[in-house]
Symmetry: D2
Subunit: 255 residues, 4 copies
């Protein structure tokens, strides 16, 4: 963990829709990543930076990751352009303890798929659905300060079955006008890192300006902060208790 007491957050954004689609640019003039970062910057306990796809190393150099406690990830159009060596580096950091908040269409990002080991597939529809997120675990830190549910007046629909491993914790289930449901907030551990997937956030809606959405992401950043940093290792260890004499030691070979 970082040497100062703040949680060091890196907000990663693909930052392509904003340059191509005037509607998205109008909603997020500084980019979606800046809209996600802004409310986090209001918390003096967080040190927030952003990084985007078209920066060198996608803004995720070893030095940046080394100083990152929690990474948030939004991507959609250009999952395939994220370089495998950067993904390997992010994956390693998560397994060492870095928190990861996976947002909306990043269900199909290379990093989420690599950590889930599953299809991560879902149904979808861009129409005119209302989304109501039911809080099924009100005592979870990620749900703090939310009531029984909150609503987004218009969002893209994601529907079940969602191709994910059984979550360690299920926090939100969404209801959609068009008739579907979705496990829209869920957590997993991988290695020593904590992962939270949060469904809302389609680029053509003002979702990241919504106070409840901001609150969930803020809660999740605090929840996902690392308590350890442990590098991967598979040590050959000596016995802690005495073993019987080995009648057959000569047959051993190197592992």
């Amino acid at each position: 963990m970082s040497t100062d007491q703040r949680i060091h957050v890196t907000v990663w954004g693909e930052f392509r829709h904003e340059k191509q689609n005037p509607q998205v640019a109008a909603l997020y003039p500084q980019g979606m990543h800046e809209a996600i970062a802004a409310p986090l910057r209001a918390d003096a306990g967080l040190a927030v930076r952003t990084a985007t796809l078209d920066e060198p190393e996608h803004g995720l150099s070893a030095a940046v990751l080394d100083q990152t406690d929690v990474l948030t990830w939004w991507g959609h159009l250009a999952h395939a352009e994220v370089r495998d060596e950067v993904i390997a580096r992010v994956r390693t950091r998560v397994l060492e303890g870095m928190g990861l908040i996976v947002l909306h269409s990043a269900h199909y990002s290379k990093i989420f798929r690599a950590l889930m080991g599953d299809t991560c597939s879902l149904k979808w529809r861009e129409a005119n659905d209302k989304e109501r997120l039911w809080n099924v675990c009100p005592s979870h830190p990620i749900a703090a300060g939310l009531g029984d549910y909150f609503e987004l007046p218009t969002e893209e629909m994601y529907g079940e079955p969602f191709g994910i491993p059984t979550p360690d914790e299920l926090v939100f289930i969404s209801w959609f006008t068009g008739g579907e449901v979705f496990r829209s907030g869920a957590t997993w551990r991988r290695g020593h890192g904590r992962i939270f997937y949060f469904r809302p956030g389609h680029e053509t809606y003002p979702t990241y300006h919504d106070q409840n959405v901001q609150r969930v992401i803020h809660n999740a950043v605090h929840w996902a902060r690392p308590s350890v940093r442990i590098r991967d290792d598979a040590p050959n260890v000596k016995a802690l208790e005495s073993l019987p004499a080995d009648p057959d030691a000569a047959r051993r070979h190197e592992h």
Copy 2:
């Protein structure tokens, strides 16, 4: 699932130690894969074939996988030699529903790591440990017919922490003479497939000739048989309920 009623099992073995190490060859003259396959062949409800690393496509052509309900996997020396396109094919089949039984040092196989999304690391020692596997879920089908525990007089030690996602079900925990413990039997679902990891099986011990080990693998093959085969898909779907008129339809764009 196959058209006849039998469960079609493919037993995959690396088959290298047996050619290089006379001790292993003495224990497993037909190869470890044949020792694993033999007791399964005694069950008329199973149709068993074997496949090994040095066959074309590692013996795992699309046609073979298409006819495989449950795949067992033992590898150790040559994980890196397994070609990525074969792993991708196996992974796809598991996610469609094929069962996968992962044996011993295959904790570090490409296929297990890809499906777990975790380090899969552990402590290890080749010495003179006894392993006692405690049955912590006696009602689980994989534990059927075993008592409270069974023992292997000498085995390689694997110790915690084991870098795996929280198992859906924990079936066995091992005790080792040298002082360690290990989650030695555990299950997960990925996609529509069932996965069982089973710890014992170091090549220099007669582990696959042990009747309890054979029973566990036999039970696991039955447990892991598919009930569905569903190809991965992320469909764009129509609403099942009427949506309000979209005041803003023009702004929609292609996903």
Copy 3:
């Protein structure tokens, strides 16, 4: 397990609404328990009996439970009238291995609450909701033969948060017209027994005549069949390995 190969099923019904409410009597002239039992009787692999609240010992004598592999439970009006000694007996049988299928308003039965250790509370509404049950685990045996979802044109609504422990497996999530969601099919193990909660089944609707509902209950009965019967015990055991001499043996006392 019973000596013949069939699964011995006892369908328990409160059988009070049917005597008091002509609407319910019209839907279920032989009682809801008989409507639940009828499609099970069509399976030659099942031996089905029924039992109801107003029979001696509620129809659940020690002899009946001794011969029961899977018990289904529907209650609503009269949870408090079920005698505690009968509940204790049922609970003991579940912990020994008997399967238990808990239906609809039995979320508040004494037996379900005793086995969950939780509030089992939920929101509810009797109105005019349609229920759509989404199949979130298509490879689960309880979901076999169902598609992506099935619908009940009118049902009572149950809404989240549902006061249950984290399910071992989540099979169905319901969508309701009025805007709620519910974890409507979920499994747990307790002791050596398997438990399935299944939400639909309000007495004023023809739910137990629905073929999908019948299929789920039929699947669940097969899934919940016991593989062991193990009586509860907390044995004082001898060491399996030699212990160091105890320098302080005199201080030991009886547990």
Copy 4:
């Protein structure tokens, strides 16, 4: 939660062995509960009181529980003497959000059994075993500051199978000299409360003077602090979305 910022902890002890057994009295002259409380009192962020069986209402009046954020529980000889109305009150507070730390032989306490819904049975032996607790979830807050494992030179043995529901999180697995293993640190949610079971602590050993044991309990108290207090309720709710006109409204009856 309490109005000041401290976590209000009540350490409950049966306090009978200490009065009956000189060996226990010598180890714990102020009682085991005071030995458990002492290191917690050293944390200015905690407000710690104790309560014991032979106080009026076992020291657990409604007023005390109302001011308790986290309750720790040690009992052994006299589980049956704890009055059911006090257990009901404690259970209600846990379901509302109060944390509960269950210690050693309290695996058989009324409160743990009521919240688990399971047998809570285990094997046991009072002999001369060493216990080594392996840390299988190093990133868990309860494991903070512990290494890969810690040891207790002599302890009572508890062995698997342990009759508990699948833990939400498994933190420690114990190795015993005599050949057994045990899931010795595990968490569950019930209602809005967090529960941690921690195995060590037999009365004839100086376990609660061990710094690692003290650290685990201290960590667990912080981990179990409530974030909400929500009273149990099963509200009849109005629809959030418009329902179709009910053609059949007259048939509805009171729930």
